[in-house]
Amino acid sequence: MGKRVINQVCRITRTVQINDAYFELWFSSPEMSELLEPGQFFEIMTPGSERLRIPISAYDKHADEIGMMIKIVGDGTRQLSTLKPGDALDVVGPLGNSFTRPTDKRVLLVSGGIGYPPMFMLKKSLDESNRIWWVHGGRCKQDAFDTDCVFTDDGSCGSKGFATIGVEKALSEGGFDWLFACGPEPLLKRCAELAKAYRVQCELSLEAYMACGIGVCYGCAVAIKENDEIVYKTVCKDGPVFNGENVVWK
């Protein structure tokens, strides 16, 4: 790929507690900020940690500052949530490929839960010539973020039900050229199916358990169709963004 990956101990510049489960973490790195593209991610850890790094997507950037949005789901993310401005964060990145950025198209963004941050960054980087509609789904109010159309499983915010309802509605109204999605696998799978049915180009950002993050260990394999063959690609290096048509679902 030829893209450079950097390992730096960076300073936390800002933290935002969004709600009980989600927080933002901002760090400063002119070098990474310059390289960063939407869809890419970082492998981060607090210095001295003995555990694997935690893969986290880029969410936003302001000049030298890079923002991430993180959901507390276990020990590692809980530990990250205790960081304060001035603390050190050991970052490897930017990692992985990025989304296609169309111009002058109708674009459907779809995010589920913590799939929100990469979509946010993609949206910001899309040319103004595009017309964008963003459907977001979450389990409850906590997982609901400001988008054009919000669904929650329990109806505590936006419409009740799965985001796929909103996706299908949007696509069935027609006119979309592109669908970009990030979120849980069932959502992505449905997006791929709908995109195919409605003949919309589709790029999905996948997740996988990761170790190296740079394409050497083959730990983060995902089955991808390539010239009618099924091969295992690395989510960390060949992805995380894949053409929706090529993903082989479990």
Binding site: A211, C212, I214, C217, G219, C220, K237
Partner: protein, 302 residues
């Protein structure tokens, strides 16, 4: 500071290399790979391999489970695409490879012999032997002896045999490799472990059992290195949970001539460099050389 290490036929600029499968050229983004004592490649097989179904990774409380299944581009793909890139670095290249029969091992080695820029081989005997009902090569001293002898016949290069720790008698296997003509013993490959999601009963790894590496296995590796060092004359390349230069020192005391860093690379991409620097500083501060330490474990009374 003089830190050269003798490893069989090679003299390395320092005693630190990488464990097969945990490292690759991409690490050149983080530091100059020429600083390594040697570079061990991921294990390659004759034909390309797809590897195992995901999920392939799970981190346990103190170690890592992996079930990669030797995904690799095959020998020809490696020789064509990867070897030239490895050769750009000023450090000996050790090609890790594996076959499903002694014949296939031999064919692979013969093919590689005709390529420049390979300093030696690391023979991965943890794979199933199709001629012996799929039992891993590395579990039977006779097979290890025969395999090593066949390979030793056809190469003058460094010939490392890397052993699996999952055997009743590691010394018997190590001796078989030595008698067969191995010039270095590498150990240990991964233990075998498993993890299950207690909430759902789902195996964390699609295959069930998986290679177990990292900090948790260090005491096991250290003991096996010690045992083998007491019983063979050829040098030992030690690996298994080494994360710091202090860990490396333990292995030298136990009898290792060089160490390889594996799982730790994932946490700290320049772990090898930190270990090299830490060892150098330690030796300077204590006015010692490696040979003052290698095999010099003390305090053992039975």
């Amino acid at each position: 500071m003089e830190m050269t290490a003798r490893l069989g036929k090679l003299t390395l600029k320092n005693p630190v290399t990488v464990a097969s499968g945990t490292f690759g050229i991409n690490y050149a983004d983080f530091f100059d790979l020429s600083r390594l004592g040697a570079l061990v490649t991921k294990t390659i097989t004759m034909d390309p391999r797809q590897g195992n179904k995901p999920p392939r990774l799970f981190e346990t409380e103190c170690g890592l489970l992996n079930s990669i299944g030797l995904q690799n581009p095959g020998l020809e793909g490696f020789l064509r695409d990867d070897l030239p890139r490895y050769r750009e670095f000023d450090t000996p290249i050790l090609v890790s490879f594996s076959g499903n029969s002694i014949g296939q091992f031999r064919k692979m080695l013969e093919r590689m012999e005709s390529f420049e820029g390979i300093a030696g081989y690391e023979v991965n005997v943890s794979c199933p032997n199709v001629e012996k009902e799929g039992l891993a090569f590395g579990t039977d001293p006779k097979v290890v002896y025969e395999l090593t002898r066949e390979l030793a016949k056809i190469t003058e290069r460094e010939l490392i045999v890397k052993l699996s720790p999952n055997v009743t008698d590691i010394v018997a296997i190590a001796r078989a490799a030595e008698e067969g003509g191995a010039t270095t013993i590498a150990l240990i490959n991964t233990l075998i472990g498993m993890a299950i999601d207690w909430q759902t009963g789902k195996s964390r790894i699609a295959r069930g059992g998986a290679g177990y590496s990292g900090r948790a296995i260090k005491p096991v590796a250290l003991f096996q290195v010690f045992r083998v060092a007491q019983n063979v004359r050829i040098p030992i390349l030690a690996m298994g949970g080494i994360s710091t230069w202090q860990d490396a020192l333990e292995f030298f005391y136990a009898g290792a001539s060089a160490v390889a860093i594996g799982t730790r690379n994932f946490v700290q991409p320049d772990a090898t460099i930190q270990i090299i620097d830490g060892l150098r500083d330690f030796l300077i501060n204590n006015d010692q050389t490696l040979s003052d330490i290698i095999g010099k474990v003390n305090g053992i009374e039975s």
